[in-house]
Symmetry: C2
Subunit: 407 residues, 2 copies
């Protein structure tokens, strides 16, 4: 069960210049939507970030090559098989899918970007994907964002959608996005896929800078199990269909509001992945302040967020906060003065100057631990830097889901 508010927005704004479709192509399972196609208007700018895993999947290699050559017009996404660890044959299959789609819609194959998610190391049934493309192309529509969010799910228990409308000095902008992922989640992307579009008109180079920066605060700050997948990708599209001038620098008066709206949508989509983390029963925000650098805050936050002992204590609603201290202690912060460190859970201070807070009670600790949403605030008290990471607890169901995934 996903944790907290994971509702699909009441209004999902269509983005002028984007059409989507979903098809049951039978990649791995019958009668399950497993193929999504996204059409991008010719006018659009598109930015992409991809996994840093050295074993990046065949579609990731192909999409990097295509993206370097041409502005994308189509995204083709299959679930059920990651087409990773599949060598030269995997590359051929990813290319074949792009070529088949390109032929059907009359564009060059290098304007099609392929994405796959699912089991690693087995041949992708590309024939099934290709056979599904006719239906995919004929069903393209502007209002299929929720269907597409469902179509990219694997072990996800909920569709993940975020959507916003903002008005900036008379111009209406819309931002809508979808994401998937619930295990193999960690910085530098994961089994995670994310697609966000806006009708704003943003120059390609600036859009890429925005995506990189926003990604650092959203998809690169979540972890379920510390595993970085071979297939993680995130795409940001600006179709340019809104009635306004091109935004080509951070000084443009529309830049900051749009950056904020895009960040909201990305953070929501990233948090939804954690809320739907495999087996998650708690949504945990790890906030580290008072560091000398963002890097050390991030290292502390991830040490805590990755610790199986911390995560099982949260699952048990057990205020065994010593496990948090231990994780802070092995995060590798140089010359950490542990006698300055303070730790709170929501409003309950548990650790003051490196040991039990004077007014801390076990009852208060267990009360706060039993809530579904908990912020761990760690203050290192040695500088001005801060960082935030989102994670979940580690439950029986995490083990069950990952031990049973292929059966």
């Amino acid at each position: 069960m996903a944790v907290g508010n994971v509702a699909v927005p009441e209004t999902i704004y269509a983005i002028d210049g984007i059409r989507l479709s979903t098809t049951a192509a039978g990649v791995r399972y019958p009668n399950r939507d497993d193929l999504v196609v996204i059409e991008i208007a010719e006018s659009a700018s598109t930015a992409v970030v991809t996994t840093k895993n050295a074993f990046c999947a065949a579609p990731v290699r192909v999409l990097r090559a295509h993206f370097a050559e041409a502005a994308p017009r189509y995204l083709v996404i299959n679930t059920g098989n990651a087409n990773a660890g599949t060598g030269a044959d995997g590359l051929k299959r990813a290319e074949a899918i792009c070529m088949a789609l390109a032929d059907k819609v009359g564009v060059n194959a290098n304007t099609v970007l392929p994405f796959s998610t699912g089991v690693i190391g087995e041949p992708l049934n590309s024939d099934a994907v290709i056979a599904g493309l006719d239906s995919a192309v004929s069903n393209l529509g502007a209002d299929n964002w929720l269907a597409a969010a469902n179509g990219i799910r694997t072990t996800d228990t909920i569709p993940k959608v975020a959507s916003q409308k903002i008005s900036v000095t008379g111009t209406d902008y819309h931002v809508t996005g979808i994401s998937k992922g619930s295990g193999m989640i960690r910085p530098n992307m994961a089994t995670m896929l994310g697609y966000v579009a806006t009708d704003a008109n943003i120059a390609p180079d600036l859009l890429q800078e925005m995506l990189t920066a926003i990604n650092e605060q959203s998809f690169n700050r979540i972890t379920v199990d510390g595993d970085t997948s071979t297939n993680d990708c995130c795409v940001l599209i600006a179709t340019g269909k809104a009635d306004a001038s091109v935004i080509d620098s951070p000084e443009h008066p529309h830049y900051q509001p749009l950056f904020a709206a895009l960040t909201d949508v990305f953070v929501r989509l990233a948090q939804l992945i954690v809320r739907d983390g495999e087996g998650a029963t708690k949504f945990i925000t790890v906030k580290v302040t008072g560091g000398k650098t963002t890097q050390e805050c991030c290292a502390v936050a991830y040490a805590v967020a990755h610790s199986p002992l911390v995560k099982t204590a949260f699952f048990a609603s057990d205020a065994n906060w010593g496990r948090i201290l231990a994780a802070v202690g092995y995060a590798g912060v140089e010359d950490l003065d542990t006698e300055q460190v303070n730790v709170s859970l929501n409003e309950v201070m548990i650790c003051q100057n490196g040991s039990v807070a004077s007014d801390y009670t076990e009852a208060a600790g267990n009360d706060v631990m039993s809530r579904p949403e908990i912020t761990i605030h760690i203050d290192l008290a040695r500088g001005e830097a801060s960082d935030i990471v989102y994670t979940c607890d580690l439950s029986y169901d995490y083990v069950k889901i990952n031990a049973d995934y292929r059966s």
Copy 2:
């Protein structure tokens, strides 16, 4: 249930110059041996390594100070409470225990080294420990190694003992050791305690060098859950009682055979911790060869050994080897040519040149995955370096044990 051969040795050699005792002091639970005292002959050399966790526990701070001042004569170890995250009060309690024992036996307090293991962040019942010291001192005996191994257990399901006798050009040497730990296990020591003694006569500086080197191949190469505890310590004692000259350099003819015997005992004690890993059903050796440096081999081995997805796949006996590839891929090896990488499980080659091995079958993969002892051999094929890490799988019971630990 611990995995594979975890039997206590048929013969546990007493070490001339070492006496041990075990007492039920009631630190946390009644009627459970929770206090161990080890007496060291005045003639002995002693070497110590301690946790690198910044939040090191009070006893670790006290023992570091004591060890810097004087040669140790007594080790006093309690379970049930780690005396960590306990501030100045914790230091006082650890000192009080050392002083009480020193008074009883007529030595200086700084020749007593304290050790604690158990829950972090709660005050240690030092009165109970002190009240148990009379019994502890009166029961000291040379043949209590197994009792001591039982006395230092917390979540351990088995006592951990290793013992060897070697003969070197007419001199008999004995090596006996005990260890504890089954969760919060990771390099740089863990909730791990280890005590090894030999009757060899080894100069203190050389003994410390030997301990540091042997530790790198044993206790610093195991992981259950990636958590490094605040209390990890390992002690190596050479009592000098064997009938032979002092060994003061690696050129001494007895050095190499003794180093090998000590390494055997340390590796066995370290492996026993993994075999008894919380919830473990499989014992997994991760062997990485063909690296440019030992560091990168170690990084790859730990990435695989820490991956929850790899560990749950082993629990499920599911040859989902793509998860191994993914972990190799995110280990951070610079310029890794994934098309050179080979991976085997025992004798079954699963990945050849970065993708599925040509003669690999799912049946062969699942057969090897169902065995209780599995070696994952990853060949990076880019150099001559290698390293080995020992780990276990991740099961429902790991979550259960760590979610229930305090209840």
